[in-house]
Symmetry: C2
């Protein structure tokens, strides 16, 4: 193996380091300030960096390019070891959060007569962040832990009584990944999106106060259950509650799958491995069938539904309809909120790789230099800028909304637990409305951004040409791991439609009945103020795309886009006899426009306020505003077909205003593009892609990783394992 190099100065050898390092040096923007902006605030930023440092320097948790060569079996084995390692970090993180390094803290928390305060969201703040960062280097690992804590744990938190929460999560140890390991049995072979029609049954036996869990037919087989194939000891099972022959709909039940010591399957439990997937093979997704599995009555999670057996065949079922369903699905909220954060992190990774490669890679001589000695940097081609720079802007715009959504999620859930424990009916109504808004926003933000980032990975891979197709540069596994985010925990299309329909409903209430709750909806649905709708409707306000100096104007433009789109749909509905299904192509767009609006608005609010943005340097701030402008202009151009049809703009507005702006902004941002991705501050071992390493020594780095993972035979022979198949063919008679 040889790193050939030359001393001949006249030989046109590439030196990508020169470009990357000199462009880095010449940029005037302050990447420290930007990183603080992107990481929300200085405290969070510092925690992020500490955790990344710990993750990428832990021999068990780190990943390098050898990761891309693992078989499914190896991935699963290594993932299990990593989970075990993470359980220790979790204890450590809880102790850090409490500032209590008493060696018995964890044991005390698990005690039945625990004297410590019970575990709160705050106690998990550090570990949740750790897990979210791990998702950026090893997504399957964070999913494995996420299914246990986020889905199993949150399902119990969302649907269990305080006693059940304390019992399962604390005494039994689930929250500390001790004692039991849980998974989340919602999806069936025949039902994914339509949870209300799941077919597994939980039939109450009033003679002995048990439930009998059954899989009535093949399509009722629980399917895709992460952790079920080999790891989980318990599940929360979504099953139809059947009491005295009556079907009360889908509720949640804790069911043990395996003996805790021997890992033997419990009686009546049949489990198999789902096998290989497009990505994330480190997760042992399984299928489960139940044959008369008996569980005690206490195993039904009964915060919002109770079965009261009064003896003598008198059984009463109480359901709190207002919250039953919404909280039933609240376990999924955590995943959706996290996927917006993942979109930021995953996007930042691939934007960094592609940008550094595009700055370092040269191809073709410029038109005015026929000597061909100095080939053009890819990033100097306007088309290449168009393929990369808006993707950088996208990642920047996802950052503030992802933190805001996460904060809203925790605030709302904490409020829900508090008021439902206090049984405050009026406060429950409010929190229920907030929860619904959170469903709408998280659905459209999850769907839109996981789609955008899937495109980002795919498009940026292509900008790296053949080297993007090498597994060692991360795009292949990155894409395969990523795209499941578009279909799981709420299929993107279904989420977009449901989010858009809710917005349409709110719009109808506002436009037709003048209904608008400023306190509840002012922040996220400000454009639905009836006065504003009337102004748009009567063209008293119109989208002004000329004015770049008034930055609130950009929000105004997207508010108008949203209202005009809603009016457009409203009219179409009237023409269409209210056949909403026929308008679903437009509804998916509404969900996207809404996400773009929220992203712009949140970024704008943060950057407008120096206390929030932490950006004091004027040049840096102007660059950040250019990112904001570019993002808006890029998506207006992208959806210009839709907007022109709605007569939001004139055709010449797009050709003569929007497109020239777009290319002008890209040319401006191109100067700082290395610094703009440096500002994500991702270390090389988080990027795990040699063509994107910090030093910019693209070709040596890439060559080194390839040869490290594929060492040449020491005798230089290279006789292949399939030598005989070849030689016997070539020498055949």
């Amino acid at each position: 193996m040889t790193k050939l190099s030359t001393n001949d100065k006249n030989n046109p050898v590439f030196n990508p380091k020169n470009f990357i390092q000199s462009e880095r040096a010449s940029s005037k923007i302050q990447i420290d300030q930007i990183n603080t902006f992107l990481e929300s605030n200085p405290e969070r930023r510092s925690l992020t960096h500490r955790l990344i440092q710990e993750i990428t320097n832990d021999r068990t948790l780190e990943t390098d390019t050898s990761y891309y060569d693992l078989t499914k079996t190896q991935q699963r084995e290594i993932t299990a070891k990593k989970i075990s390692r993470l359980s220790l970090y979790m204890e450590h993180d809880i102790k850090t959060s409490r500032n209590n390094f008493d060696k018995n803290l964890i044991q005390n928390l698990q005690k039945n007569n625990n004297t410590e305060p019970i575990l709160t969201t705050q106690d998990f703040a550090i570990f949740d962040k750790r897990l979210s960062l791990i998702a950026n280097i090893d997504p399957q690992l964070s999913t494995r832990v996420g299914v246990h804590l986020g889905l199993f744990g949150n399902c119990i938190k969302g649907n269990g009584t305080n006693e059940q929460i304390t019992y399962w999560l604390q005494e039994r140890g689930a929250s500390m990944i001790r004692g039991i390991y849980g998974c989340f049995a919602m999806t069936e072979l025949g039902h994914g999106s339509n949870v209300a029609q799941l077919q597994t049954t939980a039939t109450f036996n009033d003679t002995n106060n048990t439930f009998i869990i059954n899989t009535p037919n093949l399509t009722a087989t629980k399917w895709w259950i992460g952790g079920a194939a080999h790891s989980a000891t318990h599940i929360v099972c979504y099953a139809r509650l059947i009491v005295q022959g009556k079907d009360y709909g889908v509720k949640t039940f804790v069911v043990q799958l395996r003996d805790l010591k021997t890992f033997q399957l419990c009686p009546g439990i049949v489990i198999g491995d789902i096998g290989t997937k497009m990505g994330r093979d480190g997760i042992d997704n399984g299928w489960i069938q139940f044959n008369n599995v008996v569980i005690p009555k206490e195993n039904m999670l009964c915060r919002f539904v109770q079965v009261e057996n009064n003896g003598n065949g008198s059984v009463k079922v109480n359901i709190q309809p207002q919250l039953d369903q919404i909280s039933g699905y609240s376990a999924l909220l955590s995943g959706r909120v996290n996927m917006v954060m993942d979109s930021f992190r995953f996007g930042s990774k691939f934007a960094t790789i592609a940008t550094r490669y595009a700055v370092g890679r040269q191809q073709f001589a410029p038109a005015n230099d026929q000597l061909g000695k100095q080939e053009v940097q890819l990033m100097d081609y306007p088309l290449h800028q168009y393929r990369i720079i808006p993707q950088i802007a996208l990642v920047y715009l996802i950052a503030p909304i992802s933190f805001k959504l996460m904060d809203t999620y925790y605030d709302t859930l904490n409020e829900l637990y508090r008021v439902s424990t206090a049984k405050d009916e009026k406060a429950l109504l409010t929190v229920s409305a907030k929860l619904k808004n959170l469903f709408i926003s998280s659905a459209s933000l999850k769907a839109t951004n996981t789609w955008f980032v899937a495109q980002l990975i795919d498009e940026l891979r292509q900008t790296c040409g053949g080297h993007g197709y090498s597994q060692y540069n991360g795009f292949g596994k990155g894409y395969n791991d990523w795209v499941v985010q578009c279909t799981w925990e709420g299929d993107n299309t279904v989420l977009s439609l449901s989010s858009a329909k809710s917005i349409l409903k709110k719009f109808g209430d506002a436009a037709q009945k003048g209904k608008f709750n400023e306190k509840l909806d002012g922040d996220q649905f400000g454009y639905l103020d009836p006065n504003f709708i009337a102004e748009v409707y009567t063209n008293q306000v119109t989208a002004n795309i000329e004015d770049d100096s008034d930055l609130t104007n950009f929000i105004q433009v997207w508010s108008i886009i949203l209202v005009k789109s809603l009016i457009h749909i409203g009219k179409a509905l009237k023409k269409n006899n209210n056949d909403i299904d026929s308008l679903s192509k437009l509804l998916v767009q509404i969900s996207k426009f809404r996400a773009i609006y929220l992203m712009l608005k949140t970024y704008h609010e943060k950057l407008s306020n120096e206390n929030e943005s932490h950006i004091t340097d004027a040049t840096t701030k102007e660059t950040m505003w250019n990112i904001f402008r570019l993002f808006s202009v890029y998506y207006i151009d992208k959806y210009s077909g839709e907007f022109l049809q709605m007569k939001l703009f004139k055709a010449d507005d797009i050709s003569n205003v929007i497109q020239p702006k777009l290319f002008k902004l890209m040319a401006i941002l191109r100067t700082d593009c290395v610094a703009l991705v440096d500002a994500f501050e991702l270390p090389d071992n988080m990027l795990n892609a040699p063509i994107g390493f910090f030093d910019g020594d693209i070709y040596h780095n890439y060559f080194n990783e390839v040869t490290k993972n594929n060492p040449q035979e020491t005798d230089g022979a290279g006789i292949p394992p399939y030598y005989n198949a070849l030689t016997s063919m070539l020498s055949r008679d």
Copy 2:
């Protein structure tokens, strides 16, 4: 393992077979006739079916779902065995083509004093088709053989003298995959698209009539060379011809890599394995460095370039500039032409899977049935139709152009060999112009269709929800294997730009100088007739999108789109000081519009002529025309932003004409969608995706394949290999 089923008729068990089989039965269209249309003609159709039968029933060549579980090492080993098997089919196919089953035919062909006629394109017709069909079930296998025959072989055919062609391909046996196994060493670590700047050198030594091949620096390392890591004995090496210090540019040289018996690397050859890739891991892509490798003068392929050593230090280099470069790259033409055919085949596979799944899968009760007993078939949702049916239409439209392009390719190449052997200078000029047109058309058709099919696979995977993410349903590996087609053998962006620039040049000649060669350009560039351009320019013809009855009108509309787009670019160039790079976003679109135009035109010509279409049934023909209409309307809607900007249409045309047409056509075609994909006539073992099998028994088929590949432990235990990691974690102190 258990296939649970129920006898309870009131239990809402899904029965997807019912839908698929009854929709199949009720369709009135003639799939036999359609299949003949798609497969070009009855003779080709019958050959296709015979070959598919042979491939899918050969124990060595067949693939089943276990294919998706293979490791890289296993893939490579199995691929080598398959190549060996294919070499026997190749001999068989040559004998069939010649109708000569003399057992010594192959040996005779290899003889130096061969008395048989030399091998021609016709001799390979059957085997080439076999290979193209294999690409649809095992793309890496066809690539492995394609690199040897298509790239190595065609490079020698395109650049070698008749003697060199006979020597390497016939006497040495390369054409029969005997004696030598070749690969194609063009790309380097530092240069992909810019072939003219490759850095490997071939320096002529006039004292002993040899070339010395060298890798001057790291980025000159040959990279991605398929077959180099372990298999190839020889390469064609693209290297700079240096004679007496002068650089004559990149030429081609045959270089031996390995000893034919021992497979030891030859002196000066350094080779390594590129390792794991996003897909196609069965291909042993390698890197190669040359350290003073000496080859005889005869190993330079010298049809269009000759080095004449007159002794005494007098060396003359002759180059036929007219054909040197274009034929130098002609090896790539075969790949591009094949990729259009691959687009048809790959597209047909995934369209079949997704359509059957969408017809069999139900989810959510209809709005008017709150009982939820009968859930809606996915294919009945208009949005789902929008996601699937235009993709079926796309595949239909690719079929005729892919056969036409293949025929044009063979005709043009045969003409080239003939006239360049005859040294007919005038005829060479004509064939050179034809070759250039072939480059333009194949570039835009390859780029556009490989992109469209990449989107098709991705979008159709998403329509299958979670089950699309299972590797056993083919989408994951299908996508990973596919997308390299977007960046290799001409990066799609680079090809699109180069194709569009050539079209723009022709347009300039036509519009400004009235130049138009009807004979040469009439078929593929008819819209560039100066009279037509003038009519469009002066709005004497305008795009009429109302009229659906006159089917030539659809071609007219796209002719106008093309001319208007070219005028639009011409104007922009003037404004822009001829800075063509700044318009490259538009140029990529031009290449797409041109491909769409050619596809519509070719389909139209074929379907208009009953002798060509073989479709006599009126209902079937009307359905085929609806496919044609849908395709046009779908892409007008898709690019409506661009078209509205060019003022090709009014905004209301899109909302009130195009979109209603689109949804109406989809609703009509929905009725026959099962039959439309049945008409691809792909057997289950070519689909290799249980949710798409013919009988429509989606859930049982899928469950069976999953459990077959992931058998449960016989003791039902399921103790995982990583048991200790889990139990020690769960029971830790």
